[in-house]
Amino acid sequence: MRGMAGENPVLFENREAFMKGLLESASKLFAAERVSFYYYDEKNTLLRLMMRRSGGASFEAEENVRLSPDSPASEALATLKPVSFRNKAGHFLLAPYRIEIYSPLSVAKGGGAAGPASERREAPLQGLIKLERSLKKGRRFSPAEAALVHDYVGGFMRSYYKAEFVGLNKKYAKNLAVITELTEIFANSLRVRESFKHILTGIQTYFGFDRVRLYLIDEKGRKLKGELSSDIRGQIKSIAYEEIPLEAGAHRFADIVLGHSSGVFMERYKDCVLYMPLVVQGVTIGLLIVDNLLSQQKIEPGELSMLKSFAGQIGLALDNVRLFDKVEELSLYDELTKLPLRRYFNQRFQEEFYRAERFKQPLAVIWADIDYFKEVNDTYGHQIGDRALKEVGRVILSNLRKIDFPCRYGGDEILILLPQATGAEAQKLAERLAAEIREVKIPVPFSRSKELSVSVSLGISTFPQDAASIETLLEKADDALYWVKSHGRGGIALAGEVEKMKAAENKKA
């Protein structure tokens, strides 16, 4: 039996498998009816049962014992030597163990290099293995047996140390992988439309919290607005309905962002919640909250420090996403009229045209042009011309339905796409626009009249009546506009009618 310790399997899948293996083999080798694995919780001075083998099965059980100083267990733990005793319940043998565990320092703090200088001493793993034999069936544990058990347990625990060390190294390698992959996710978030989702998914994939919530401060800096939340299974939903005024005392989140947190509730939730203000160049842009409140599972210190080290990157990624959106918005919209630009319009036009074709719905296009715009610019200057354009843009935007789509097509030309609208409906809108634009008075302080009125000419074409393709539809609207402009301006013409009028004119000629 001397060589038994050497036969121990070195690696186990996890702690549970290790304990099970030890209890099973010890029970068999030393003919013990019951074998229990205890861990000594130094902080609470409790001996805590981790697993027991009895009746041919291993199982977890709850047993917490506070040892008196003169008890056999206290003696075993203090001397690290086996102790056997007998009482009315049976024969007992206590084999203590104690192993020191060193782990690589946390990656976030240590920066990566392994080696003695970067190792941290963990709390020692100590406790004892209790073997029992009943008074009826069993015999007492002899000193020789006690020594053998002690050797055996010692050998097993050394194997456990190796397994634990391998486990820690695996954890360390995993942390490095997490850092690499999350850094990539955050860096790639710049141009990805679904960036917020990617960031939350990345966090959940590697850490797995009960919930992750993301709040961002609005542009005016008055509110903390909910963006997204991810649950334990990684399902993401919008929390846009959550809006928190950024005022001291309004909400704990506001206090954290404003730096007014008293720390009382932070202390209260510190084990299960992490609030991470997202700061970019000294400015807080939002708040990321991860929590294990429902499960009450402690967020490990390693996870905390790693997440904290990511906070800067996450903040930067989110800020980049917002900046990118802003740039994209600026490049899609005309700053003067606030109308979308031609590039954006072309994309939408195609989509709407296909939709109209597919669902056999009507689609109208209005092509508008400010009358005598060149003269306005030449006479009053570009500033007044710009003002006129701005006003026309305002009138158009205020009269459209949500599904309509206008665009500054170039110069003073404006196109309006009207999905699901017939020619007659488009004409009604055109009349309303023309009337309202005529009412607009643009102040011109240096002119005799002190103000300027403008008018617009409008040409309308409709699908499917006037054209079967995008190009022809635009062409027809342009034709109709040209007809109006060549017949006195300030009017409205439908492509279908222009055709008829042209035919009549040709006939006359």
């Binding site: 099965a57 199982f59 059980a61 040892l67 007992f92 209790k130 919290f209 409140l293």
Partner: protein
């Protein structure tokens, strides 16, 4: 197929389960079944670990859980609809009070099936009480009487290692504290379940009542006897707070049950259910096992094997009539279960944590009321916050 069972202070439960498993395997030799026993805390952690990383963290095909965990794990998508796994499941065969423990807050769809139950009572040794001039009928009526009785028992027996009362569950827990809370008219939640009621005076007083026997030294905490092959109730205690009749193996118990002291209108019943995991690749086999384990005969013999109660109406009725004694019949005539809501298990965990810390401090002789109250305030805030989230 893998089954996860909840650990029990009584190893008799595993012997009973092995019997059940052996008979199942004899009838279904092709179905390989393994089982693992986890403490309540470990089970909770393992189920959440699986939810976090279902690809790499295993879960069982069948899970035993306290009835009050059904709602939260069903909501998190861990549990399969029981009707889909066990076609013959009929909630009407169970007492009304058990049905709420099988569903979620939002629907009547069952996600777990009642398996066995237990009810806390006070067990006393008639001769010990008689020797101290105490009568169970008059001296254990309410908590004050009970504490006085403990005092008299302690004064009358100075033997080292003797305690007037011991805790059968091994430690102070939120689940076992509830009858004391109810005695005072308190509860963990408001009637509508929308607010935590942990800071209500009645609730706090009830919890303090629960700690009082330990504080006065009448009830041992973290005692060594359990480590040394005990506890030897017959020799070291006059009374036991627990759910099973205390007995030494192979010996007839000298303890008799009586209702827990207090003027409650309801008696606590703790239910344990079986559920199938929604992601199990062995749902068919799981259904066969559930059918077997939950059948009238099997569930009854399983419960009887370790001194608890079966859940099916007919089996419960038979057990109660056989158990003799009006005590159990009285308890089961006004049964009350802890709530089965999304937040309840977490609330119980938080209260457990506060009671655990209080127990440690009592054991060290360092208990301070303010510390306990502060922990309750913290738990209260956290539970209210959770209620606003889930």
């Amino acid at each position: 197929m893998l089954i996860w069972l909840l650990a029990d202070p009584d190893t008799g439960k595993f012997a009973a389960f092995k019997n059940l498993l052996n008979s199942f395997s004899a009838h279904y030799p092709d179905i390989k079944v393994d089982f693992r026993v986890l403490t309540r805390r470990s089970m909770w952690r393992s189920l959440f670990a699986h939810l976090r990383d279902s690809k790499n963290r295993e879960t069982a095909d069948i899970i035993e859980l306290p009835h009050s965990w059904t709602a939260v794990f069903a909501k998190l998508g861990l549990l399969a609809e029981i009707g889909g796994v066990l076609e013959s499941f009929n909630p009407a065969r169970y007492p009304d009070f058990l049905r709420k423990g099988c569903v979620t807050e939002e629907s009547d769809t069952a996600f777990s099936a009642p398996w066995w139950m237990e009810a806390p009572a006070l067990f006393y040794r008639p001769e010990a009480l008689k020797k101290a001039g105490l009568s169970p009928e008059t001296d254990l009526l309410d908590w004050e009487h009970f504490l006085s009785a403990c005092g008299r028992l302690a004064a009358g027996n100075r033997k080292r290692g003797f305690y007037p009362v011991m805790h059968g569950a091994g430690r102070m827990s939120a689940a076992h504290a509830l009858p004391c809370v109810w005695n005072r008219g308190g509860n963990l939640f408001s009637e509508d379940m929308n607010r935590c009621a942990l800071n209500r005076e009645e609730t706090v007083k009830g919890l303090e009542d629960y700690l009082e026997p330990a504080l006065r030294g009448y009830l041992p905490l973290f005692g060594e006897s359990v480590f040394e092959g005990g506890p030897f109730y017959e020799e070291s205690a006059a009374m036991v707070l627990g759910t099973r009749t205390p007995a030494s193996p192979g010996r007839k118990s000298s303890f008799r049950p009586v209702r827990l002291p207090g003027g409650r209108t309801r008696e606590q019943v703790l239910g344990y259910n079986l559920a199938a995991a929604s992601g199990s690749p062995n749902l068919k086999e799981a259904g066969q096992f559930l059918k077997w384990a939950l059948s009238a005969d099997n569930s009854r013999s399983f419960a009887e094997d370790f001194g608890v109660f079966p859940c099916l109406n007919a089996a419960l009725e038979e057990t109660l009539s056989e158990a003799g004694g009006e005590v159990w019949r009285g308890i089961f005539s006004a049964p009350s279960m802890t709530s089965n809501t999304t937040v309840y298990p977490t609330a119980e965990l938080l209260l457990d944590k506060a009671l655990w810390h209080a127990s440690l401090r009592i054991a060290r002789g360092a208990y301070a009321r303010e510390d306990f109250l502060r922990e309750l305030v913290i738990a209260h805030g956290e539970i209210d916050y959770l209620l606003s989230l889930y």
